[in-house]
């Protein structure tokens, strides 16, 4: 590891952190191909960077998103029940599944989501949402200040059970494939629970760190974290996440949705590639 390469990894990681914080994704799925394909880092040294990048995005962006009231902590914790349980189940079941098929299915799902998201690209806030009885009973609905609209947005939570199911699936994928699955979390909250887009991405950002932390023991014990590679990734992603989280209030939800589409397509294509080859 030369200082020049470390500086290059740091610079690229800033971009990953900005994108991850803007879209509610971990960025792990972006950082590994960037390191291995673009910068020639051996895969053995890059694998642990995915986990580090995910948690750095989550914790780096969380403070700003929390202060703006966009993160719904009660909902995030409730859904984290499903993601952590799914992740634990996935890790225990991993030996029985062929990861090739899973990656192929996951990749196709992401491509389909990109198409569905493209059709919804102009939408700013959900309308006509009927609160789920469970959301009312536990107290999951909320409000946030949207700077791009210049007002407080109050919202209700629908589809609690469907959302919980998607989160269990997202956790299962994390456990089986070792990926963060932030995209699935955002989609679950947007499509099933009909939350405002910024609440979906901010709450996903809050949740991905907790889901990823479940894997820390495995990564440490298996020696997957290569300090000279992971350290500049952690620092770069943290800087990027601090910047990206400050941009979320500024952008319109419709714009952020539009940015999400090509990222989903790249992630889907990459998953299919890894599944087939």
């Amino acid at each position: 590891m030369s200082p020049g390469l470390a500086a290059e990894i740091f610079a690229v990681s800033i971009g990953v952190g900005i994108l991850g914080a803007l879209l509610g994704l971990g960025g792990g799925i972006l950082v590994v191909p960037l390191l291995t394909l673009y910068m020639g880092v051996p895969i053995g040294q890059a694998a642990g960077a995915s986990l580090v990048a995910t948690i750095a995005t989550s914790s780096g962006a969380a403070a700003v998103l929390l202060k703006n009231g966009m993160t719904n902590i009660r909902l995030g914790m409730f859904l984290n029940l499903a993601t952590t349980a799914g992740s634990l189940a996935g890790a225990l079941l991993a030996v029985y599944f062929s990861s090739g098929w899973l990656m192929l299915i996951f990749g196709l799902l992401l491509l389909y989501s990109a198409f569905a998201m493209f059709r919804k690209r102009g939408s700013e806030l959900p309308e006509g949402v009927v609160e789920h009885p469970l959301a009312a009973r536990v107290g999951l609905s909320g409000q946030y200040y949207d700077r791009s609209l210049g007002r407080v947005v109050q919202y209700k939570v629908a589809g609690v059970l469907a959302g919980f199911g998607v989160m269990f699936g997202a956790g299962l994928m994390s456990g089986l494939l070792g990926i963060g699955s932030g995209a699935l979390k955002v989609l679950g909250m947007d499509v099933c629970m009909r939350l405002p887009w910024k609440v979906s991405t901010a709450t996903s950002n809050f949740m991905i760190g907790v889901t990823a932390a479940a894997g820390v023991g495995v990564y440490l014990a298996q020696g997957k974290i290569h300090p000279p590679t992971a350290a500049p990734v952690a620092l770069g992603v943290l800087v990027g996440a601090l910047v990206g989280s400050r941009l979320v209030p500024v952008f319109k939800s419709g714009t952020l949705r539009t940015i999400f589409v090509p990222v989903l397509m790249v992630m889907g294509a990459q998953m299919i590639w890894r599944g087939v080859f």
Binding site: L81, A213, I225
Partner: protein, 127 residues
């Protein structure tokens, strides 16, 4: 969450008080502390004396021992571990904050998340 009247114009500061603010402060401290330690390790690696120790550190005792020997890899790992446990601290802080407010449902939910999380981390160490 702060009490809000619908339709009133409010600044972001007024929305994000209470639990959100407390969690944000705790996370900020964790993030800046870990970033400082990681940066120290990285600087030592490039400008400090050459160190012949192991590159990969796979257990807490080996990281702890390396810290006292001034091994840059151990210092970077120590900083990254601080970063990697911030999500756990986040859940613990949420349990405490909900308990103070007597939000029983949310205390129960957060404690369950914490238990599953700790079980997963422990299961991983046994691999």
């Amino acid at each position: 969450m702060a009490e809000l009247t619908p339709g009133r114009d409010l600044s972001a500061d007024q929305v994000g008080t209470g639990i959100e603010h407390l969690l944000a402060v705790i996370l900020n401290w964790g993030v800046f502390l870990s970033a400082g330690v990681i940066l120290l390790g990285l600087l030592l690696l490039f400008v400090g004396p050459a160190y012949g120790g192991p590159e990969y550190l796979t257990s807490l005792p080996s990281i702890w021992a390396g810290l006292w020997q001034g091994n840059p890899n151990a210092i970077m790992m120590g900083g990254m571990l601080l970063l990697l446990v911030t999500p756990v601290i986040r859940v613990v802080a949420a349990v405490a904050a909900f308990a103070v407010r007597r939000e029983r449902w949310h205390v129960l939910i957060s404690i369950s998340v914490l238990l599953i999380l700790l079980a997963s981390m422990a299961a991983g160490q046994g691999h």
